[in-house]
């Protein structure tokens, strides 16, 4: 699905990713853990095409093509989706119309006719019920004044609508209450499919108890320093990251 080779990237002259490699096959769930500031969100944003980051070397292949050649909106329409750690507020833009615009952009890309507001409304109602998303949120401006948990659910709603191929969840669990965490995790599990891959960025075991990853990576200092199976999560929970970052990280690369 996505293959990252020796990726180096920087922002405002500061280098963040330093030779990161990662291979995710269709249908796989990969968890990415690692200390604060290690570059997890950066990795997600670079895959999604944020224009502030500059890739200085390395390559990313997605679905057989060169991902880095595409603009952010093109990548999105081709199936890259990122649920943001901090979803941005867009005052003045109605959430429901935003969702419809996004949905129709994807449909247009697939050569399908656009759906009208009425048709879309029905679709939205169904999806938002599954997520127990308060209906009021659809009539408000995008993320504007949403609580932390509401923003995260709104992200998941978009994921379900857009049916992407590669899903990057950036700390979607943080800010969710216990019930919401379960609801979101269940939605993700239902959403898993053999031709869809997930990169789940998280700090906590509890999400990964629900969404069981096939592979777990530790990202530190801009590269993958350890790769294991879901048992690694428990070990990290107990031991923290020092043993990985303090130890000669360059030799434990994954």
């Amino acid at each position: 699905m996505v293959s990252i080779q020796e990726l180096y990237a920087e922002i405002e002259g500061k280098s963040i990713l330093k030779g990161l490699s990662l291979d995710v096959k269709p249908g796989e769930v990969h968890a990415i853990m690692g200390p604060n500031g290690s570059g997890k969100s950066t990795l997600g944003k670079i895959l999604a095409g944020h224009p502030d980051y500059e890739v200085t070397s390395g390559s990313v292949t997605f679905d057989g093509g060169n991902l880095l050649d595409m603009d952010a909106d093109e990548r999105a329409r081709n199936g890259v989706f990122m649920a943001f750690q901090y979803p941005v507020e867009i005052p003045g833009v109605n959430n429901a119309s935003f969702l419809r615009m996004s949905y129709n952009a994807k449909r247009k890309h697939l050569g399908l006719p656009e759906v009208d507001p009425f048709e879309f409304e029905l679709l939205l109602q169904k999806q938002s019920k599954l997520l127990k998303l308060g209906e009021g949120l659809l009539d408000r401006s995008v993320n504007d004044g949403f609580s932390g948990g509401e923003k995260k659910r709104n992200e998941i709603l978009q994921m379900m609508l857009l049916e992407p191929k590669l899903v990057i969840l950036d700390e979607t669990d943080s800010g969710l209450d216990i019930d919401a965490l379960r609801i979101v995790a269940e939605s993700v599990n239902r959403f898993k499919s053999p031709d869809r891959s997930f990169l789940v960025i998280t700090h906590y075991q509890r999400l990964l108890d629900y969404i069981v990853p096939d592979v777990v990576h530790v990202l530190a200092n801009g590269k993958i320093v350890k790769t294991g199976d879901h048992l690694l999560v428990r070990e990290l929970e107990e031991r923290g990251y020092d043993w990985l970052t303090g130890a000669i990280p360059s030799e434990v690369g994954g």
Binding site: G49, P51, V55, D69, V88, G92, N94, S97, M101, A105
Partner: protein, 479 residues
Amino acid sequence: MSKDIHAIASKPYEYGFVTQIESDTMPKGLTEDVVRLISGKKNEPEWMLEYRLKAYRHWLTLTEPHWAKAEYPKINYQDIHYYSAPKITEKKASMDEVDPELKRTFEKLGIPLFEQKKLAGVAVDAIFDSVSVATTFKGKLLEAGVVFCPLSEAIEKYPDLVKKYLGSVVPHTDNFYAALNAAVFTEGSFVFVPKDTVCPMELSTYFRINTQDTGQFERTLIICEENSSVSYLEGCTAPMFDTNQLHAAVVELIALDYANIKYSTVQNWYAGDPETGKGGIYNFVTKRGKCQGKGSKISWTQIETGSAITWKYPSCVLIGDDSVGEFYSVALTNHFQKADTGTKMIHIGKNTRSTIVSKGISAGKSENTYRGLVQINRSAKGAENFTQCDSMLIGKQAIANTLPYIDVRNASSSLGHEASTVKVSQDQLFYFAQRGISMENALQTMINGFCADVFKELPTEFAVEATQLLSLKLENSVG
């Protein structure tokens, strides 16, 4: 490499072409003889020439004002053509006789000079440099008693009305550019709606500057008698030249008892070169409406997008008791543009009300200033004003200023003021992009949300156009 938003190609100004047509252009420069010559070209009566000469002599005593938030080199008034007209200036009885080259020009600009076609509900007066080349639906309007014609024609056919009202709202002594305009104005539209008449269609004047180094000094006069109403729209474009062009118009509106005038502007003059800031229109305009009658209403709506420098304050003088003034404005600046715009609401009559809604959008290295005055005189018992000024900043180098002046001279009036500033961030646009939405659509959506209060005031025929125009102007502006 992912493409930076900076790099997305900016759409060039669509209307920057020059029409190749033989024209009768007066040599550059301004003297008393030039004023006489203009008057002569228009076959004006003696009183009109006198009016011009008085204004010209007054203008000579004035100095160019420079208080607005825009710096520009002193204009050389001897380096401007004050008159330029396409060679075939005889007004044609039928539209089919309009010069085909001119017809094509206006068609390219989206302004049909054929009746009953695209904009069937809109009568158009098309002004090319210094003359009106066509006015549509004149006959149909006259049936309703509405006069819609070039001002030069009104001077000839309705001298009493022109004598009575010309300069009654904006006298030639008002300011430097008003004096200049009164001396050398060449064309403009005249609208007269008689008592108890609702104008049966939208009226629209379309201004086009074509000849290089030509000043456009149009003059518009709209009179609505008792219980009548009209909705009027002006649009403007110009070719791309690397020298600046002066546009110094005067617009006067008069509303008698219970009359209602709605005046909308979609201004898309050439703004200058996006990279260097060279060229573009200096848009120094005096627009004022007089709510003379009881319960009368004047409403200004403007979408200002072009011009290198805009300097404009469409105002309302609320004389009649219970009269209403409104000002709805979207001013967009990008690259090196400067806009200093706003309104004046002068409350004189009792229970007069005014509303000001200003939306300033600044992008690139531009500067956008709202400057407004709300003056409530002692006589204006029970007057009310509500002002809302919102600014939207796009990118890191744009500047927005809000300068509301309030002058209240009685205690029974009430005023409300709200202001806000929003910044369009790279992260917001990235959010749109991450959901598959193109930059163009993202900006259009954000602008729509921001300007909704103003767009809803535009005649429906033009609301969609205005939105598209704004987002076009903003491409390539975030970073």
